[in-house]
Amino acid sequence: MNNTASTDPGGIRGGLHPIILIADDTQSSRELLRSILEAGGYGVIEAEDGEQAIEMAFASDPDLIILDLHMPKLDGRDVAAQLRRAVKFQKTPIIALTAAVSESMPEQIAQAGFTDYLAKPIGPARLREFIARLLKSTQAVMS
């Protein structure tokens, strides 16, 4: 369990593994995601709902954010929209991970400010591969 908070503004902590913020209202989903990501060498901080997700985002400055869409209090879309308003998170990759996939989803996702989305169920290997790719391209943009 690694909940290390960092004040290093928007970037990969040279040497330290990237921090990923995950938000999902289902405990098992959170545990699964944490296991998958930690097995990939990432640091994970969890939020149980949308409000907590925003608090923790501002507090911990994650390198990547994965949000479930359907959450109580504030759902994934609203979180993304709010975070995007902050200068801090303009460039941060925000991913929607959701079981509900509809025809109009891609547009809604993009409109809310997400970088991309993944459909549940997704296997660990694929998920890790996806995130690795995303972080690499973000890193390239940063430097």
């Binding site: 097995a39 079981a99 169920p121 296997g123």
Partner: protein
């Protein structure tokens, strides 16, 4: 003249013979004279040699006057030629019997006689003269003529009487027709007065014929319409074509008791010596109007019902879509963790789990995948059927998608020891939704591999035909019976058993493939033979 008496002949005998001969001659002469018919003797060249009393009576000439004259003396102008031809015939020995000719009486009148002529032959056979018997048939002829004339007259009279009767009958029939016509028939004169009214008119309007005749037709029109009627009548009379009245308007007529009823009227002009009369045929359409109203009401209620039902159907469809979306979400969420954890366990398995546990884990993983496949298929199919699935067609390189699909299936094929041959590939662009095209290919390929035993082969082929390309996925697998070929694309229909004896799949894959192919505007089908293998094919429109 007495003969020289011989020794055997006495003068008495001779005298007796002579007396007898004279008696016979006188007897003959008496017969001739007493005959009613003219008996005339003629010489061979046509001169009259004897003339009896009847001849005198018939022709008017005394014997002394006519004997020695040629027979043509008696001929009626124009008959001369015939007389000559008769003479010729007689000279040749022919007879002429009962021939009707015209002759001239001494007083100049025409008489018709029936002639019988015969040659007079002597003892040696030679023709020495002509005997003519003539019967006066003038009167007879006249009677015949009169009779014929009378008959003709009678005929004419009978005919004209028959005609008159027929006309009377026709007129009666015609009158009956008008009287009993189902519609009221009226005729109105130039001043608007009724001159003809049939029985139906009486019944329809409630007036007796006496009340109608010579009354203004305006009494039959509701007060509201009376003012303009005369000018309408005048206009019609001058324009004068048969037509329905007041087209497009609702017309009403007025009964004696003041009640009104809807009518349909057709008018036709009739020219008479007193100006233009107008015949009107009036139909009471009360019932028809009622029926029309009823039909309209029914129609309106049906339309309303239809609209309600349509709205309801739409609402249900909408609910179904929403249900589908939420169900999809609900089913996927737990499946996500099941599959995820199973895979994680599998990743960490080496050294931690024994073979049996690894195998259990594998089963969990596989069945979760299966469940996921089922959920996806059911959702796809229901979205397609609800019309809620939209294709995002774009120009797609067929070769590219085929290669991708083959690569994706390769691991599975390898695990089953089945080779996959991509074929030569066709450099053609099709109009398709790439994701759905991949889905179709994936489905067909995985079926092909699944139903083919180890060492078998799955091969692809693409051929262009007009504006379409046909993609085939062939295998050397177990094959499909003809009966099943026709049903194989049905929902939940699963064919026989796979080589490893297990029923796999959801039974929805091919149903979805068919829907997707048809949504692209193509067709899907299968050819197969038990034991030999199968060829699944589908068509897509090219760019």
């Amino acid at each position: 003249m007495a003969k020289k008496a011989g020794p055997s002949q006495t003068s008495d005998t001779v005298q007796a013979e002579v007396a007898a001969r004279r008696q016979a001659e006188r007897w003959l002469a008496a017969i001739v004279e007493s005959s009613d018919d003219a008996i005339i003797g003629k010489s061979l060249d046509g001169f009259i040699t004897s003339w009896n009393a009847a001849a005198t009576r018939i022709f008017g000439y005394e014997a002394e006057e006519i004997i020695g004259k040629p027979i043509s003396f008696l001929a009626w102008p124009g008959e001369e030629a015939r007389i000559d031809s008769f003479l010729e015939l007689l000279r040749q020995g022919q007879r002429i019997n009962h021939f009707e000719v015209a002759r001239k009486h001494k007083n100049g009148k025409k008489i018709i006689v029936s002639l019988s002529l015969s040659p007079i032959v002597d003892a040696d056979g030679g023709i020495i003269g002509i005997a003519k018997i003539a019967r006066d048939i003038t009167e007879r002829k006249a009677s015949e003529a009169t009779l014929t004339a009378n008959q003709a007259q009678l005929q004419t009279l009978t005919e004209s009487e028959a005609q008159a009767r027929a006309e009377a009958l026709a007129e009666r029939k015609f009158r009956d027709l008008i009287e009993n016509a189902p519609d009221a028939i009226l005729q109105v004169d130039a001043a608007g007065l009724i001159v003809i009214a049939n029985r139906t008119a009486e019944k329809m309007f409630g007036y007796s014929r006496e009340e109608l005749m010579s009354n203004s037709v305006d009494i039959l029109i509701p007060e509201a319409g009376r003012a303009r009627h005369p000018e309408h009548r005048k206009a019609f009379a001058s324009a004068g074509k048969t037509r329905p009245m007041g087209q497009g308007l609702d017309l009403f007529a007025r009964r004696k008791d003041g009640t009104q009823f809807p009518v349909e009227i057709s008018l036709s002009p009739v020219k008479s010596e007193h100006g233009v009369y107008v015949t009107a045929v009036v139909r009471d359409i009360t019932e028809r109007k009622e029926t029309e109203m009823r039909v309209r009401t029914l129609q309106e209620s049906y339309m309303a019902e239809l609209e309600t039902r349509q709205k309801e159907a739409e609402r249900l469809n909408q609910l179904k879509s929403e249900f589908m979306a939420s169900i999809s979400h609900e089913l996927r969420t737990p499946l996500h963790t099941i599959i995820g954890f199973a895979e994680l366990l599998e990743e960490d398995a080496d050294g931690i789990l024994n073979e049996k546990q690894k195998r259990f884990l594998h089963h969990i993983h596989k069945d979760s995948d299966h469940l996921l496949g089922l959920i996806n298929d059911v959702l796809d199919l229901s979205r397609i059927e609800a019309g809620g699935l939209n294709l995002r067609t774009e120009p797609v390189s067929l070769q590219t998608v085929v290669s991708e699909a083959v690569n994706a299936i390769r691991p599975y094929a390898v695990s089953r020891s089945v080779t996959v041959d991509e074929g030569d590939g066709l450099p053609v662009t099709v109009m398709a939704d790439p994701m759905r095209l991949r889905q179709i290919l994936n489905n067909l390929l995985s079926n092909a591999v699944k139903f083919t035993a180890a060492e078998g082969q799955v091969s692809l082929d693409a051929a262009q035909d007009g504006g379409f390309v046909t993609v085939s996925v062939s295998d050397t697998g177990v094959g499909i019976a003809p009966l099943e070929c026709s049903r194989i694309f049905e929902k939940f229909y699963q064919v026989g058993v796979t080589p490893i004896g297990v029923r796999e799949g959801t039974g929805l894959g091919l149903a979805i493939c068919r829907q997707l192919v048809e949504m692209h505007g193509g067709k899907i089908g299968v050819e197969s033979e038990i034991g030999k293998g199968s060829r699944f094919y589908f068509t897509l429109p090219t760019l």
